[in-house]
Subunit: 324 residues, 3 copies
Amino acid sequence: MGGELSGNPAAVISRPVEAGSNDPHGITFAEGSKYYDRVQGSGVGAVIVPLDAPEMDCPTIRVDAPRAAFGLLLHRAKQPLPHNPGVHATAIVEGATIAADASVGPYAVIAPGAVVESGATVHAFCYVGPRCVVGVGSVLYPHVVLVEDVILGRGCTLFPGVVLGADGFGYVWTGSEHAAIPQVGGVRLADHVDVGANTTIDRATAGDTTLGQGVKVDNLVQIAHNVKIGPYTVIASQVGLAGSAQIGAGVLMGGQAAVADHATVGDRVILAGRSGVMKAVQEPGEYFGLPATPIREAMRQMALMRKLPDLLARLEALEKKSQS
Amino acid sequence: MGGELSGNPAAVISRPVEAGSNDPHGITFAEGSKYYDRVQGSGVGAVIVPLDAPEMDCPTIRVDAPRAAFGLLLHRAKQPLPHNPGVHATAIVEGATIAADASVGPYAVIAPGAVVESGATVHAFCYVGPRCVVGVGSVLYPHVVLVEDVILGRGCTLFPGVVLGADGFGYVWTGSEHAAIPQVGGVRLADHVDVGANTTIDRATAGDTTLGQGVKVDNLVQIAHNVKIGPYTVIASQVGLAGSAQIGAGVLMGGQAAVADHATVGDRVILAGRSGVMKAVQEPGEYFGLPATPIREAMRQMALMRKLPDLLARLEALEKKSQS
Amino acid sequence: MGGELSGNPAAVISRPVEAGSNDPHGITFAEGSKYYDRVQGSGVGAVIVPLDAPEMDCPTIRVDAPRAAFGLLLHRAKQPLPHNPGVHATAIVEGATIAADASVGPYAVIAPGAVVESGATVHAFCYVGPRCVVGVGSVLYPHVVLVEDVILGRGCTLFPGVVLGADGFGYVWTGSEHAAIPQVGGVRLADHVDVGANTTIDRATAGDTTLGQGVKVDNLVQIAHNVKIGPYTVIASQVGLAGSAQIGAGVLMGGQAAVADHATVGDRVILAGRSGVMKAVQEPGEYFGLPATPIREAMRQMALMRKLPDLLARLEALEKKSQS
C-alpha cells in the first residue's frame, strides 16, 4: 500500500472488516473523527487512516487515500467460486457447444444448440435452455436458469436464482378465459451486465428484452417483456419495470421503485426509492414519489402533508372569524 | 393469413419482431399512423397492415385484422420446451406414480407418494414433494419446487423458481421466542392456472390456499397461507397478498399492489399498480392508492397533493387579510 | 385434549381444517358467535369450542382453550420432510465435513471445506458453498443456495429458493463504467432463525450481514449487505432492507415495508405494511407511511388527504367572502 505502519508489526491480520468491528484479526479503515471514535477501543486488529489522523490504540497504517487502500485489500481478499475448465462428469451437455476453456459444473444442464463461450463459467444446477448463449467470460452462479432465447454478452455475472427468458405476462380475454399470447422473443444482455439473486427478466413477446452495456441489477427485481434499458443504468433491489418500459442510459433507480408499462425514463434520471413513473420522466435530475416528481417539489409536498392538521386548524379559525 | 402481399415475394422472413425493430428478417404489424411511421425507414423485413394502410417501404401484407394475423404468426413461431414422454435416467421417482405419457426431465426428484398425471411435463431440477399432484397436461419449468400437499389441476404452467407449498408465516410468542405454528394445509390450483417465475405460494395453516380456474399470476408475487383467489383473476408482478386475504373472481391487480391479511377484494375489482387494500374493497370498478380508493377520487386527491403549496399560500393570504 | 365430546363418536376425522371449511373429515375450532355461525351448517366433520359454546350441528369437543387445543392438533398433523441420516449416493460432498447423523439429500452439492453439523438436514438440490457452515439441527429445504461465507446457527430453517451470501450490490464509477467493489464478507445467522422462500440475504462487503437469535423472515424479502438485525425481530414478505440498515430487537415489519441504506430502526418498533424508514425511527411504538410516522399521526394525515377536496372548497368559500 505504500503506507507507514505504526504499532505492533507482528499483529496477525487475516481479513478486512467493517467500521466498528471488534475482530482482533480484522483490518478496517477510518476517515474523519466519527470513524476514528468507532475504531478507538473497538479491539479491531488494525486500521488504515489518512496521514493526518490522530494516534490510534491499535496498529495503524497511514496512507494518502484510506478508502482506496481498503479497496485494494478487498480485491486481494476476494476468492471467486472456482473456475475449473472442462465439463463435470455429471453435467448434461449433449448437443451443446462448450468452449474448451469454459467450465461447466456438477449437475448443470445445457440444452442442445446452446453455446457456452470461452472462459465462461456455468456453476452447479444451472439450466441453459435452447438457443441460449453464455458469452465470453460470463459467470452463472449456482441455480441460474436461462429458459430460452437468452443471449449474454461478455463478462456478465448472474447470481443464484436468476431466471432469464421465462414467458412475458401477456394474455388476451377470449370471452371465457385468458388465453396466453405466445411469447417468442428473447432476452439480450450486452457486455458486463450483472443480475442479482432471484431477479427475473422475461423474454419479449417478439424481438428482445434488452439490457445495455454495463447495466447493474440488484436482487429480486422484475423486468417484464420488451423492456429496453440503456447502458450503465443501475437498478436497486425489488424494482419493478412493467412491459415495454423504456429506460435511458445512466439511470439510477432506488429500491422498490417502479415504472408502468410503456412508460419512459430519460437518460441520467435518478429515481429515489419507492418512486413510481406512471407515464414519463424525461429531464435528467432526481425524482421522488408516485407519480415521480422533481425531488424538491416532492419533498415540499411531503412536508406539507405533515402540516395538514395545522392547515385545517388555521382554516377553521378563519371560518370562525369570518362568521363572527 | 389470407392477406394480400405487395413488395418482394422472395424476401426471407424468419421471425416475428416488435414494432420499431430494424431486423431485416423480421415481420411486425402496424395499425395507425403512429405505427406506420415507426415501420417506414426502419429496415424491418416485412409488415402486416390493415387494408386501408398507406404504401410502406418494405414488403407488406394487407389483412382485415393485423393484430390477430400477427398473433397467428406468434403461435406458429412458438417452440415449447420439449416434452419427452418417459422418465429421464437421472430423475429420482421411487415410490411416485408417473403416467406413462408424462415427461420427467433430468435431475428431477419426485417424492414417494407424489403423482404426475397424463401428459404432464416436469422439467430439469424440479422437486415434487410428498402428497403433491401434477395435474393432466401441466408443465413445471426447470427449478420449480412443490414442497408438500400441493395439488395442481389440468393445464397449469409453473415457471422457473416457483415455490408452492412452503410453510405459511405463522408464529406465536411464547414469552421467550416466536414458536412456529405448524402449517399442515396445502395449496390447490384449479385448472389452467399460470404462476410466474420466482413467485411463492404458501401452504395453508390448515385447509388450503386456493387459486381458482384460469387464474394468472406474474413473477415475484407473494401469496400467503390461506389466501383464496376466485376464477380468472389476473395478478401482476410483485403483488403481495397477506394471510387469509380473500380475492374475488375476475379481479385485476397491477404491479406491486397489496392486500392486507384477512382483507377482502370483491369480484371484478381493478386495483391499479401499487394500490393497497387495508380492509375491504367490494364494488366492481377501478381503485388506486393506499388505502385503495375509487380511482377518480384517488386521482383528485393526488392532484390536490400537488397543489398543497398553492393552498398554503392562499391560506396565508387570507390570514393576512383578516388580520389587517 | 382433555375435552368433552358430544355427537357421533364414530365420525372419521383425518385432518385439521380452517374455519368455514366444509370438509366432512376435517376438524376446526370456533370461539365466538361469528365463528359458530361459520361452522353451523358448513358440513365440517367436527369442531372444538369453549365450554360455554351453544349446541353445534356436528360432533363437538368442549375444552378450556380451543385455539390451544387446535394448535396441539396441528402439531400432531405435521409431517416434516424426511430426515434420512447419511449422504445420498448422488450428493457431491468431497472435501466437506458432514456429521454422521446429518442428512444430505439427492443432488446436493457441498463445497470443499464446508461443514454440515450434527442433525442438520440438507435437502435435494441445495448448494452449500466454500466456508459455509450449516449449524446443528438446521434444515435447508430443497433448492437453497449458500453461496460463500455463510454461517448458520442451530435450529435454523431455510425454505426453498433462499439465496444467502451472494455479493452485496456495491459499485464505484470509474469514469467509464461501474466497477464492482469486491464483496468479501459473510452472512451470519444466530440460532433459530427462519428464512422464507426466495428471500435473498447478501454477504457483507467486509465483516458480516447478521441476523440475531430467533429472527423470522418471510418470503421474497431482500436483506442487503452489512445489514444488522437484532434478536426476535419478525419481517413479513417483500420487505426490503437496504445496505447497512440497522434493525433493533423485537421489531415487527409488515409486508412491503422498507428501510433505506444506513437507516436505523430501534428496538420494539412496529412498522405497518408498506411503511418506509428514510433515516431513523427510534422510539418503540407503531409507525406507518413514507416516511414512517407514529401511526396516529399518519392515520390523521391519511384521513385529511381524503378531505382535501372539502378543504379546497372551504378555502374558496372564504376567499369569495373576503372579496365581497
